[in-house]
């Protein structure tokens, strides 16, 4: 009996760990791709102002946004599967599409200023959704390497008519934290 309890505990532990890992990765990529409307760039871009300032970034992070999320996951594959985790996501030919897999809403996570509502694919009407929501988000499942310290995920985010984009992210875990190492634009509308 004791053995059964221990087994159940470990199964529960590992399933939570997997969910938490997914959640951490989604947190990183959502915070990277979901932003409010852009501020104007400097009139003249030079060496001292060629990147947006941290103070502007911080202020934008606090803007509250309502995000509609598709319940269906994007599926993606590299034609040459060997290219998956060799840190060359810009090399391989990739295929992706909306799948029938359902997003685990427990894994959806982002900064505090973001609020999410999940919609079925059928209920996501782009012609009207932006009346009530700042953006539409679609996630893929996450592919891990064998050591679970590298991950790939595709995220699609749209802010209005002809204003969407789909991006493949490559992440690595170092010192327990996931961070984006590379990204590759897949499509833009």
């Amino acid at each position: 009996m004791r053995l059964i309890y221990i087994s159940i505990f470990f199964i529960f532990l590992f399933s939570c760990r997997s969910t938490n890992t997914d959640r951490n990765i989604y947190d990183v990529v959502i915070n990277s791709i979901v932003h409010p409307m852009p501020p104007p760039p400097p009139t003249v871009i030079g060496e001292d102002n060629n990147e947006i300032s941290k103070s502007i970034l911080d202020s934008l992070q606090n803007v509250p946004l309502n995000i509609a999320v598709s319940s269906k996951l994007i599926s993606f594959e590299f034609k040459n599967k060997e290219l998956l985790f060799i840190n060359k996501i810009n090399k391989g030919e990739i295929e992706y599409h909306i799948s029938n897999e359902i997003l685990d809403s427990e894994t959806l996570f982002g900064r505090n200023s973001l609020s999410f509502k999940i919609f079925s694919e059928e209920d996501l009407k782009y012609s009207t959704i932006y009346d009530d929501y700042n953006g539409v988000l679609k996630m893929s499942n996450i592919k891990y390497n064998d050591n679970k310290n590298e991950a790939l995920v595709v995220v699609s985010y749209s802010m209005g008519k002809l204003s969407g984009n789909t991006v493949l992210f490559y992440l690595e875990r170092k010192n327990g934290a996931w961070s984006i190492i590379k990204s590759r634009s897949l499509s833009v509308s």
Binding site: E51, S158, G160, L162, G164, S185, S187, S189
Partner: protein, 459 residues
């Protein structure tokens, strides 16, 4: 074309060939080869004294009174038939000319090909077999009669740039050896892929398929494209589009090196809008889609399909660096011609920027970077490249889009009347506040006027 008539007491038939080098303004000419009761042939040059306007009417199948305008000139016996008749045959809507090319004896001992005594079999010095050299002369819709169809077939049949069997196929030359299906109608598979197709990556089944006589035109198109210096990567895509295996099928615009996906071709309205846009040949069309046409390493595929991030249209450049292919995916075709044209142009601009960035080597000095690369760097912490392109487009592409649509609409209104279309998808990216609220309202009102009065239709 072949004409047969059994009312003359013998199996009469004639052959009519259009003369393709008649000078403009000199009317139309046909060569008529007519079977005589004694089994010989007489050759005639038939000259139709018609104006260019009347030629156009004939092509449009309008009535033209030819009374007194047709002259028959009997040519010296056998001018055409004696030299070529026995070598020309008609099969499956196409005319072929064949001739026998003799083989060579063994270079050392004079053995003929197939002689088992030859000690050089399998070497480069082995005797070679003779073969039938077959050339496809023309493929036209059969028709005509005694004197022939004045147009020599349907000269307007089809888009001259598309592989649709139109008479733009008028002169295509192909060589084949006698073992080819095309030459002797062997139904068995020919598993050999010869130059210039030998660089294509095809399965055995695909090789058999392309070698079959049913695919003669497709094979010729591919061969001619490659022989003329075409790009092998595009030829590969073209094969996949033409093989109708359910994957990436469609039509091929060889001249412009464009793949028109089957989904796109089958959407009559979308194809119509694209054709009008192409015909208008605006500067923006040339500077976007046209750049893919002129770039041998990059190819564009136009698809009617679904986008993950919108239900309007998108540009899938995910594999531009690996395969060189950019997909323009048009999802919404419910709008007007101008709406749909604006979608195509918007996505074509994304494609062109992707092409530009791929080819652009970023410099070390940010001040030397083109504006688009500056914007990429400035906004990279916030947005993907695609959305940063929207910012760039507000600065550089509003007038070009509006101008292209104005030209498409036959310059019916001033350019401001088309700016509302140009701003579609870009309004929220107007970081420089280039479009005021007042202007947006005015342009929207203009758009209503344009839509109410435009004569552009694709219904």
């Amino acid at each position: 074309m072949l004409y047969t008539d059994t009312t003359r007491g013998y199996d009469y038939h004639s052959y009519t060939f259009p003369v393709v080098n008649t000078p403009i303004g000199a009317g139309l000419e046909n060569i008529l080869i007519s079977l005589q009761p004694d089994g010989t042939y007489k050759d005639y040059l038939i000259h139709y004294e018609v104006s260019e306007e009347e030629i156009e009417m004939i092509y449009n199948e309008d009535f033209v009174d030819l009374e007194g305008k047709v002259n028959y000139l009997l040519l010296e016996n056998g001018t055409f038939s004696q030299n070529t008749f026995e070598k020309i045959y008609f099969d499956n809507d196409c005319w072929y000319e064949s001739s026998w090319i003799s083989g060579n004896p063994c270079t050392v001992d004079g053995h003929l090909y197939g002689d088992p005594d030859c000690e050089l079999i399998g070497t480069s010095s082995e005797a070679t077999a003779g073969y039938t050299h077959t050339s496809l002369i023309t493929c036209n819709n059969p028709g005509g009669g005694d004197g022939g169809d004045i147009t020599g077939g349907d000269p307007t049949g089809g888009d001259p740039n598309l592989n649709d069997g139109g008479s733009d196929d008028s002169i295509i030359i192909v060589d084949c050896i006698s073992s080819d299906i095309i030459c002797d109608e062997i139904e068995d598979c020919n598993p050999t892929l010869t130059a210039p197709l030998s660089n294509l990556v095809l399965t055995d089944d695909e090789i058999c398929w392309v070698n079959h006589s049913d695919q003669t035109i497709i094979k010729l198109r591919l061969e001619n494209y490659l022989t003329d210096g075409g790009d092998s990567d595009f030829a590969q895509l073209a094969f996949e589009a033409l093989d109708k295996d359910g994957i990436d099928d469609g039509q091929v615009d060889f001249e412009n090196e464009l793949i028109l996906d089957e989904s796109f071709v089958n959407d009559v309205k979308l194809k119509c809008v694209y054709d009008k846009l192409k015909a208008s040949n605006s500067n923006l069309f040339k500077a976007t889609i046209g750049n893919f046409i002129s770039d041998p390493k990059l190819n564009m595929r136009i698809i009617k399909g679904n986008c993950e991030n919108t239900d309007d249209a998108c540009c899938d450049d995910s594999n531009i660096a690996t395969t060189g292919v950019v997909n323009l995916i048009i999802e919404d075709t419910t709008g007007s011609v101008l709406d749909t044209a604006a979608l195509i142009l918007h996505e074509a601009i994304h494609a062109e920027i992707s092409r530009y960035v791929l080819l652009q080597a970023p410099t070390e000095d940010v001040n030397d970077r083109p504006r688009i690369l500056q914007l990429y760097k400035y906004y990279k912490a916030l947005y993907s490249e695609g959305n940063i392109e929207h910012i760039y487009m507000t600065e550089h592409y509003i007038n070009p889009i509006a101008s292209a649509l104005r030209k498409l609409d036959s310059y019916s209104y001033p350019i401001d009347y088309y700016k509302s279309y140009a701003w579609d998808g870009l309004r929220i990216w107007d970081v420089m506040n280039l479009l005021s609220m007042e202007e947006n309202t005015i342009y929207s009102d203009y758009r209503v006027i344009v839509e109410s009065n435009t004569s552009l239709t694709c219904d």
